[in-house]
C-alpha cells in the first residue's frame, strides 16, 4: 500500500434538457448553425433582461430529492463577473450564497477484483447557472470565432465533498450521477456533446494525515476514461513532486487526452476575482414545501432502487443487477426482454453479452438497438424450450441483427430447428459408433474425453442442429452400456 492517500472531489456540470434556455425563450438544442439559436437576451444586447425558466427549478428539485439533499426555501441568482468573448454580458448568471440544492449524498458502488464495495459520497451543493457560448479557435485562421448558441443553456453544477479516495471511486461516482440524471430525465448526459462535463479537484496526503494536501483542479474531463486517466496521471505527478521534497502549487490544470497528461492553465495568484453579487434583474425564488412534494410524487425509480428490485424480483446477482439496472435504457430493454423470455439470468447474459457486443460493434445506444427486446426475448425462449441450442441462437441473433425478422421464421426458413427426434438421433449415434470402431475401443478403455469427438461427428453431420444434451445422453448410454 502506498504511503500516500488520494483525495478527490468532483464538480460536475450537467446541461438540463429543457425546451428553452434558462433565461430566454430561445430553443435549447445542440448542433444548430452557429449563432442561430441565440436571442437578444442570449446575445446580451443593451436593455434586455433575463426571465427564469421555471422548468429548471423543477429539474433541480428533482435532482436534490434524488440525492436526499436539502432544497432551499429561497434561492437566489448572482452575477459572476469576468470578461471573455463567449460570455456576452461580461458576467455569468450563477448562484453563490443560496444554491437551490444544499447538502446531500450519493451511494455508489465501486467494482473491484474481489467484488463490489459500497460507499457514500457527500454532495456539498448543486446550483443553477447559464452556460457560456463557445470560442472556436481553429475555424478562421488567425481569428477566434464565437458561437453563442450554447449561451444561456441551463446548467446544474453539482459539487461533491472531497470524499473519493481513488480514480475508480471518482469514476463510480460519476457513473452513478450519470445514471441518476438520465433516470430523472433532466439531461441526456451525453459527454461527447458536453451535456455532462466534469472538473476534478485532486490532492494527496500522507496516509493517516487529517489535513488535506494542496489541490489542483483538472478541467476538461469529458469521458469516464479521461477522468480516470487524468486522476491517475495527476496523483503520480503530485507524488513525484512531494517525494522529491517539492510543494504542490494550487492551480487549475487542463487534461490533454492526446498526450495523457495534465498541464498548468493558471495558478491561484492569477485566479480572477469574480466579484459575485446578487443579480438585481432576478428576484429571489421561493420554493414551497408543496412544490417539493409535488415533484417528489412524480419521482421516477432511481438506479439504486432499481438494482435492489432487480435482485429481488428477477433473482439477479448483485453483479448482474448492477450491469443491467444501472442505466435506465438498459434496464428498460432488459425488462421488456425478460417479460417475453422468462429466464432472467439467461436474459441478463444475452443483454450484457451478445447484445452489448453488437451495440459496441455498431456504435449504437441501446435505445437504437437493431433487435427489439421482445424479439430477443422470443429468441431466448426458443433456447429454453429446446427448439434451438445456444450456439444456433447466436447464429439466429446475427441474422436478426443483419436482416431483421422474427426468430421463429428464421429458424424455420433456414431449418435450424434442433434435432430432438430420438429415433433419428439414435440412428446417427449407431452409425457413428459403427464407423469409428477404433475410437470406441479407446473410449471404452478409459479415454472418455473422446465423447467430444463423437459429438463433433454428429454435429458435423447435422449442421449443428442435434440437441446437444440429448445427444450426450444417448452417446453415453451407448458407449458406456456396451454392445
Amino acid at each position: 500500500m502506498s504511503q500516500w492517500e488520494t483525495v478527490i472531489g468532483l464538480e460536475v456540470h450537467v446541461q438540463l434538457a429543457t425546451a428553452s434556455k434558462i433565461f430566454s425563450g430561445a430553443p435549447n438544442r445542440f448542433g444548430a448553425e452557429p449563432n442561430r439559436q441565440a436571442s437578444a437576451v442570449d446575445l446580451g444586447l443593451p436593455g434586455v433582461l433575463p426571465v427564469l425558466n421555471e422548468a429548471v427549478v423543477q429539474m433541480a428539485i428533482r435532482f436534490g430529492l434524488a440525492v436526499d439533499a436539502e432544497i432551499a426555501a429561497v434561492t437566489q441568482f448572482a452575477r459572476k463577473n469576468y470578461f471573455y468573448p463567449d460570455l456576452p454580458k461580461g458576467y455569468q448568471i450563477s448562484q453563490l450564497d443560496h444554491p437551490i440544492v444544499g447538502r446531500g449524498h450519493l451511494d455508489i458502488i465501486i467494482p473491484g477484483k474481489d467484488g463490489d464495495t459500497a460507499k457514500t459520497v457527500g454532495i456539498t451543493r448543486a446550483h443553477l447557472e447559464e452556460d457560456a457560448g463557445k470560442s472556436i479557435h481553429d475555424q478562421v485562421p488567425g481569428l477566434t470565432a464565437v458561437d453563442l448558441n450554447r449561451a444561456g443553456t441551463p446548467l446544474l453544477e453539482i459539487v461533491s465533498e472531497p470524499d473519493m479516495r481513488s480514480a475508480a471511486e471518482a469514476v463510480a461516482y460519476l457513473r452513478e450521477l450519470h445514471a441518476i440524471i438520465r433516470d430523472l430525465g433532466i439531461s441526456d448526459g451525453n459527454m461527447n456533446e458536453g451535456s455532462m462535463r466534469c472538473d476534478a479537484n485532486v490532492s494527496i496526503r500522507p496516509r493517516g494525515e487529517a489535513k488535506l494536501g494542496t489541490r489542483t483542479e483538472i478541467k476538461n474531463l469529458n469521458s469516464f476514461r479521461f477522468l480516470e486517466k487524468a486522476i491517475e496521471f495527476e496523483v503520480e505527478r503530485q507524488q513525484e513532486i512531494l517525494e522529491a521534497g517539492g510543494r504542490i502549487k494550487q492551480e487549475t490544470r487542463l487534461y490533454d487526452s492526446e498526450r495523457n497528461e495534465t498541464r498548468s492553465m493558471r495558478s491561484k495568484e492569477e485566479a480572477e476575482d469574480y466579484r459575485y453579487f446578487p443579480d438585481p434583474d432576478l428576484l429571489p425564488v421561493t420554493i414551497t414545501p408543496a412544490q417539493i412534494e409535488a415533484v417528489r410524487a412524480e419521482m421516477p425509480e432511481l438506479p439504486r432502487a432499481r438494482r435492489e428490485r432487480f435482485m429481488e424480483q428477477h433473482g439477479l446477482s448483485g453483479y448482474d443487477s448492477r450491469m443491467v439496472a444501472s442505466d435506465h435504457a438498459t434496464a428498460a430493454y432488459f425488462e421488456a426482454c425478460v417479460a417475453v423470455a422468462g429466464d432472467a439470468k439467461l436474459t441478463a447474459n444475452w443483454v450484457m453479452g451478445e447484445l452489448a457486443s453488437v451495440l459496441n460493434r455498431e456504435e449504437k445506444d441501446i435505445d437504437a438497438a437493431p433487435v427489439a427486446p421482445a424479439a430477443l426475448g422470443r429468441l431466448i425462449s426458443r433456447i429454453q424450450d429446446d427448439t434451438i441450442s445456444s450456439k444456433i441462437a447466436k447464429t439466429v441473433f446475427e441474422i436478426m441483427v443483419k436482416d431483421g425478422g422474427e426468430p421463429d421464421d428464421i429458424i424455420e426458413a433456414r431449418g435450424l430447428r434442433q434435432m430432438s427426434d430420438s429415433g433419428e438421433l439414435e440412428r446417427l449415434v449407431d452409425s457413428v459408433i459403427a464407423d469409428n470402431p477404433h475410437q470406441v475401443t479407446q473410449y471404452r478403455a478409459g479415454k472418455t474425453k473422446l465423447l467430444g469427438y463423437f459429438v463433433g461427428q454428429i454435429m458435423k453431420a447435422t449442421g449443428g442442429k442435434a440437441n446437444p444434451g440429448q445427444l450426450n445422453e444417448l452417446l453415453r448410454a451407448r458407449l458406456d452400456g456396451g454392445s
Binding site: 443593451p46 463577473n81 456576452p88 466579484r275 438585481p280 434583474d281 428576484l283
Partner: protein, 485 residues
C-alpha cells in the same frame, strides 16, 4: 411660431375637436426643435418618421385611437427603439441601432403616441447636470448658461423649451425629478416595478425606473396610465393592478396626511428652497391636508450608499460593452486584452469610467463586506424608515434639490459636489417608492421644485396631491422667456 397647445391634455382636446391635426402638432414640434438646436436637447431626430406616424394617427378611425393618439412625445435616448439609433449618450453606442422596441416604446406606440426623437442625456444616465454626454451638454431653456439637470437633461429641456409637450425619462437616483425641478416641470419616478425596464439600457438595475415628464400632474397621469403594468419580460415588474390615474386625479385631498421631515431640511439647504417647501406646506394645509412631522434619520446616508450600490451594479451592467458584438470597437486590436482596453477606454467617458472603477472596487474580495453589504444595510434601513413613516402619513413633502439649477461647468471638476445634488432624490430610489417633483417657486429666475414621496404603488395619491396643488397655484404655468404658454 404657430400657437400650439403646450400640454398633452390641451393637445388631446384640440385633436379631438379637430382644431389641429397631429401632423400640425408634430410639425410645430420639429420646427421648434430645429430652432432650438443650440440647447442640444436631442441626439437624434427622424422628422419624416415622426410626420408619417402623425399622419397615420390623423387617418386612424376614431374607434382605433388609443389614449395618446397623435400626441408627440420625446424619448430619452436610453430606450431601445427598433431601427433607431439608441446611444445612451455614449460614444460606445454612437452608431448602434436597436433591433427591438423597449416595453414603454411598445406601449406608447400602441396608444397612438408619435415619437419625436431621442433626447440627450448624461452618458448611461450617470450625471446630474446633462454635461456628461458624448454629444455635448444640454442647456437650460430658462437660462442657457445653466444646466438643465440630469441625467434626463434633453427630455427636460425639450419640454421646457416647448419642443415637445411631454417626454420620457428614467430615474435611478433623481434623473427625472432633478431635471424636472431645474426646468420647471412635473416629473414622476414610479414605484420600482411599476413600469417595465425591458429595452431600457441598464445603469443600476435595482434602482432604474422609467417615468414621464411634463408640465403638470394631469399629463403625468395620462402617460402613466399607458406606461404602467406588469411585463413578463422584466422579472422585477410587479403584477399590481393599474388604477385609472386620470380618473382619480380630482379626488379631494382633504384629510390626507402629509409628512414633513426635518431630516430632509438640513442647514445646507438653500434658503429659497426652504422657503419653497414652507410655502408648499401652507398650500396643502389650505387645501385641507394635515401636516405631520416624520422621522427619516437615515435618509441622508442614502448618498454614500447609492454611490456604492449604483456603481457596483453598473460595473456589471456595462461589462457587455466590450467591443466584441456591438458598440464601439477600437481600430486594429492587437490582442483580446488590447481590444477590451482600448474599446472601453475610448468608448466610455470620464464619469462612466469613474463609476465602473468605483463599483468594481466595491465588489472586490476584501471590500465587498465593508462597502457593498454595508450599503445594502443602509438601503434596508432607509426603506424601513419610509415604511414606518407611511404607516402614519399618505405622502411626504420634501425639497427636490438643494439649490436651483447651477451654472454649466460649475461642478464638473468636483464629482462629490455633483453627487450631493441627488441627496433628496436618492432615498426614494433606494426605498423603491414613487416620488414626484413639481414646480413650486422661483429663485434667481430659475424654477424650484418640491417633491412628494409616497408608499409603494401610491402614485395615484401623489398625482392627486400634485393636481390639487396645481389647481390652486400657477407655478406649473410659468414658461421660460420666449416659450408660449
Amino acid at each position: 411660431m404657430t400657437t400650439m397647445p403646450d400640454t398633452l391634455g390641451k393637445a388631446a382636446k384640440a385633436l379631438a375637436s379637430g382644431q389641429i391635426s397631429s401632423r400640425e402638432l408634430v410639425s410645430t414640434c420639429i420646427a421648434r426643435i430645429d430652432a432650438g438646436r443650440h440647447l442640444n436637447a436631442f441626439v437624434s431626430i427622424d422628422a419624416e418618421r415622426a410626420l408619417d406616424a402623425a399622419a397615420a394617427a390623423d387617418r386612424r378611425p376614431p374607434a382605433e385611437r388609443g389614449p395618446l393618439n397623435g400626441l408627440p412625445i420625446a424619448i430619452k435616448d436610453i430606450f431601445c427603439q427598433s431601427g433607431v439609433r439608441t446611444t445612451a449618450g455614449s460614444r460606445m453606442l454612437e452608431h448602434w441601432r436597436a433591433p427591438y422596441d423597449a416595453a414603454v416604446i411598445e406601449r406608447l406606440t400602441a396608444a397612438g403616441a408619435v415619437l419625436l426623437g431621442k433626447t440627450n442625456m448624461d452618458e448611461f444616465a450617470m450625471g446630474s447636470s446633462g454635461e456628461n454626454s458624448h454629444f455635448g451638454a444640454t442647456r437650460n431653456p430658462w437660462n442657457e448658461n445653466h444646466v438643465p439637470g440630469g441625467s434626463s437633461s434633453g427630455s427636460a429641456a425639450a419640454v421646457a423649451a416647448g419642443m415637445a409637450p411631454a417626454a420620457l425619462g428614467t430615474d435611478t437616483g433623481g434623473s427625472i425629478r432633478q431635471p424636472a425641478a431645474f426646468c420647471g416641470l412635473t416629473g414622476l419616478k414610479p414605484t420600482y416595478g411599476r413600469v417595465s425596464r425591458w429595452g431600457m439600457i441598464a445603469f443600476a438595475s435595482s434602482l432604474d425606473q422609467a417615468g414621464p415628464m411634463a408640465w403638470d400632474a394631469a399629463d403625468l397621469a395620462l402617460l402613466l396610465n399607458v406606461m404602467a403594468g406588469v411585463d413578463h419580460r422584466d422579472s422585477t415588474s410587479v403584477d399590481e393592478p393599474v388604477p385609472d390615474y386620470t380618473a382619480s386625479l380630482t379626488t379631494s385631498i382633504r384629510g390626507l396626511r402629509i409628512g414633513l421631515s426635518a431630516d430632509l431640511l438640513g442647514d445646507d439647504v438653500d434658503a429659497d428652497v426652504r422657503a419653497t417647501v414652507d410655502a408648499s406646506r401652507k398650500v396643502f394645509e389650505s387645501l385641507g391636508a394635515t401636516i405631520v412631522p416624520v422621522s427619516l434619520p437615515t435618509a441622508l446616508a442614502g448618498v454614500p450608499a447609492y454611490y456604492v450600490l449604483a456603481p457596483a451594479e453598473a460595473s456589471a451592467n456595462l461589462a457587455r460593452f466590450d467591443g466584441v458584438r456591438f458598440g464601439h470597437r477600437c481600430a486594429d486590436p492587437q490582442s483580446l486584452e488590447d481590444l477590451y482596453l482600448r474599446s472601453r477606454s475610448e468608448g466610455f467617458g470620464t464619469e462612466v469610467k469613474r463609476r465602473i472603477l468605483t463599483g468594481t472596487y466595491a465588489l472586490s474580495v476584501g471590500y465587498y463586506d465593508a462597502y457593498y453589504l454595508q450599503a445594502q444595510k443602509i438601503r434596508r434601513l432607509i426603506r424601513d424608515e419610509f415604511l414606518a413613516a407611511f404607516s402614519n402619513v399618505d405622502a411626504i413633502l420634501a425639497p427636490t434639490t438643494p439649490s436651483p439649477a447651477f451654472a454649466l461647468g460649475e461642478k464638473t471638476d468636483d464629482p462629490v459636489a455633483m453627487y450631493l445634488q441627488d441627496v433628496f432624490t436618492i432615498p426614494a430610489n433606494l426605498a423603491g417608492i414613487p416620488a414626484l417633483s413639481m414646480p413650486a417657486g422661483m429663485s434667481g429666475g430659475l424654477p424650484l421644485g418640491v417633491q412628494l414621496l409616497g408608499p409603494h404603488f401610491g402614485e395615484a395619491k401623489l398625482l392627486q396631491l400634485a393636481h390639487a396643488f396645481q389647481q390652486a397655484t400657477d407655478h406649473h404655468l410659468r414658461r421660460p422667456a420666449g416659450v408660449p404658454a
